[in-house]
Amino acid sequence: MNVGVAHSEVNPNTRVMNSRGMWLTYGLGVGMLHVVLLSIPFFSVPVAWTLTNVIHNLGMYVFLHAVKGTPFETPDQGKARLLTHWEQLDYGVQFTSSRKFFTISPIILYFLASFYTKYDPTHFILNTTSLLTVLIPKMPQLHGVRIFGINKY
């Protein structure tokens, strides 16, 4: 199976997040993660929420902002090879609905985690730093920017 055999979509990765049911699956996935963490008897509710937040943000960072390129060969001679998945979404057009959704969802998770941890200082520091690692790369000014050359090639 090759990309571009039966349609003229050059990079299918750009449309994956817009497909039907993707947002629902993502929400269900986060919910499932949280339920699994809640059912471990050693974790109290605040710890479970902070862990959900941190693990979710770690996963989002790795899959959207660290991994570059496409898992298949595209017919455009590798224009997207150096771009992360976030930068590839919708061919780089900013403020589309998928981008807005994935920007807002870590913020909502952050609000919930702050509430359930009763604004405890240690939890606050952890949650805020992990939120910042996932919000800053999403800013349009950082499109294609690689700080200190990390992850450039």
Binding site: V3, H7, R15, V16, G21, D90, V93
Partner: protein, 518 residues
């Protein structure tokens, strides 16, 4: 699901096309399936890198490890971790002519599809639902074969030259006149390869400063030809006339991007039958739009020539339109005529221009003589000029098979895409594991099918594609349907909910973005 369109009398018969939407539960499970496969893919890559597991595919030599890598590992991720697992459903070696039944060499794999070994056994008489054999001309005995054998002994197998140098045989002239008569156009030209017909001739027709409006689901040959030409490409949603009209209006009102000059030419690229969706182009509306906005139409009838229309003349005859309305009629001889190659038909000035300026005419070898004879004999058979009614019977048999097969599959409860009259029947599978399972289960029951998944289709729309043939008898279709029913129950593929929803299941206001090359 079915919406009968009459659109002010443009359509002389009901146009039933349906693309039932993916059920939400199925979509969620599909994503979960791909997610699990991705995670396991990362795990296996990790194990391979740390030498816990043996790496089976090609790697660079030890001395080259410190150099800049030759290729990006990640681009092969899908290939290594998903495609390899179900690779035995593709590239199956056959050892007989692929007619309605085909023989296949049996092969097994002892290391999970990384290598194959032949057991030596030949699986005989597999019902072939994958070949584009619409009119059943893929035979090893018959008038076509005898004529081709005679021409082979007379002219030889190779031409060894391009059309413009020494490769223009009298057989080619005869073929081109026959094709022009068949299509009802003034003149035609034939090329050696169907893909090359598109990719080499679109650059000859349009260039920089022209606009190409191409359908979302156009074949790779049309996309390649459009890109090679250097024209600006804009994509309209599949078979969506409102989208096409909007693009046409914008193009004429705003002109070229920065200079606002008018476009030199606007060319609309559509296909007769889209092979992955089974949908038929809305030709009456396209022609009406073309005339209103004074643009040109390029119709690629690769799958529809010979397969549609009461006498097999293609999609133009199916809608009852005149071939003069289509500026460039392109088609291939590969599917319905059992040969190889492509043709372009149109006005005499256009074809004379292509004879001089097309890349294929100058650089590519012309068709081989036995192939030309196969096309001539099969085309005469379809037209009825060989004195029998075999051709007409085949066209009617194909239409009957199509209607019967689609009706039975819909009744069983599968989700089928496409138009009711198209001989290409995509059956939706959706989940990645079912792609492999369906291919293997059908082979166990002696039926050969073609399955496709992501990234050749959108991520939640993997499918199995059946191509019906006039050579399939009703008994073969009944056997196939019985087996499909069994496998459908086993794999739980009967997703259809028989809902009646209005057409345009794919709403127009869903915004999509395309690559801009400024």
């Amino acid at each position: 699901i079915n919406h009968i369109v009459h659109n002010g009398g443009l359509y002389k018969r009901p146009f039933n096309e349906a693309f039932e939407e993916t059920p939400m539960l199925v979509a969620v499970l599909t994503y979960v399936g791909y997610g699990v496969l991705t995670l396991f893919g990362y795990l296996r890559d990790f194990m391979r890198q740390w030498k816990i597991e043996k790496c089976q595919n090609a790697t660079e030599r030890e001395e080259q490890k410190d150099f800049v890598p030759l290729y990006q590992d990640f681009e092969n991720f899908y290939n290594r971790n998903l495609y390899m697992r179900i690779r035995d459903s593709w590239n199956r070696p056959i050892c007989s002519v692929p007619g309605a039944k085909v023989d296949m060499m049996e092969r097994v794999s002892h290391d999970y599809n990384w290598t194959f070994t032949y057991t030596g056994r030949v699986i005989k008489d597999i019902i072939n639902m994958g070949s584009y054999n619409y009119l059943g001309f893929a035979q090893k005995a018959g008038t076509c074969q005898e004529a081709a054998a005679k021409v082979l002994s007379q002219y030889g197998a190779g031409v060894c030259s391009t059309r413009q140098e020494m490769g223009n045989l009298d057989k080619h002239e005869e073929l081109e006149q026959l094709v022009a008569r068949f299509l009802g156009v003034e003149s035609a030209m034939a090329y050696g390869m169907g893909f090359a017909t598109n990719s080499m001739n679109i650059p000859a027709l349009v260039g920089k400063g022209c606009l190409i409006l191409s359908d979302e689901l156009n074949h790779a040959s049309l996309v390649l030809g459009a890109r090679l030409s250097g024209a600006t490409i804009r994509i309209f949603k599949h078979n969506n006339m409102q989208s096409l009209e909007k693009l046409l209006k914008d193009a004429i009102v705003h002109g070229q991007p920065r200079t606002r000059r008018p476009w030199k030419k606007i060319l609309i690229l559509v296909e007769g039958i889209y092979s992955m969706e089974g949908s038929i182009v809305r030709l009456p509306e396209v022609i009406a739009l073309k005339k209103k906005y004074k643009s040109y139409l390029y119709l690629d009838e690769a799958h529809s020539i010979g397969a549609l229309g009461p006498s097999g003349r293609g999609v133009v005859e199916y809608f009852g339109l005149s071939p003069e309305d289509v500026d460039v009629m392109m088609g291939t001889f590969t599917k319905s005529f059992g040969a190889a190659g492509g043709y372009i038909g149109g006005k005499k000035e256009l074809i004379d221009y292509l004879r001089t300026y097309s890349h294929s005419a100058v650089y590519a070898t012309s068709l081989s003589p036995p192939v030309v004879e196969q096309i001539i004999t099969s085309m005469k058979c379809i037209m009825g000029e060989d004195g029998t009614t075999v051709g007409k019977a085949r066209v009617q048999q194909l239409a009957e098979n199509t209607r019967y097969f689609r009706r039975r599959l819909k009744e069983m409860g599968f989700i089928i895409y496409g138009n009711e009259d198209s001989p290409v029947v995509p059956l939706m599978l959706y989940m990645p594991a079912k792609i492999g399972a369906f291919g293997r289960e059908m082979l166990k029951r002696n039926i050969g099918v073609v399955v496709v998944g992501f990234p050749a289709t959108p991520i939640i729309e993997s499918r199995a594609r059946f191509c019906l043939s006039a050579a399939h008898t009703k008994e073969m279709l009944d056997t196939a349907l019985k087996e499909i029913n069994e496998v459908g129950d086993l794999l739980q593929l009967k997703y259809s909910r028989h809902r009646l929803v209005p057409l345009l299941d794919r709403p127009f206001d869903e915004t999509t973005y395309e690559e801009t090359e400024d």
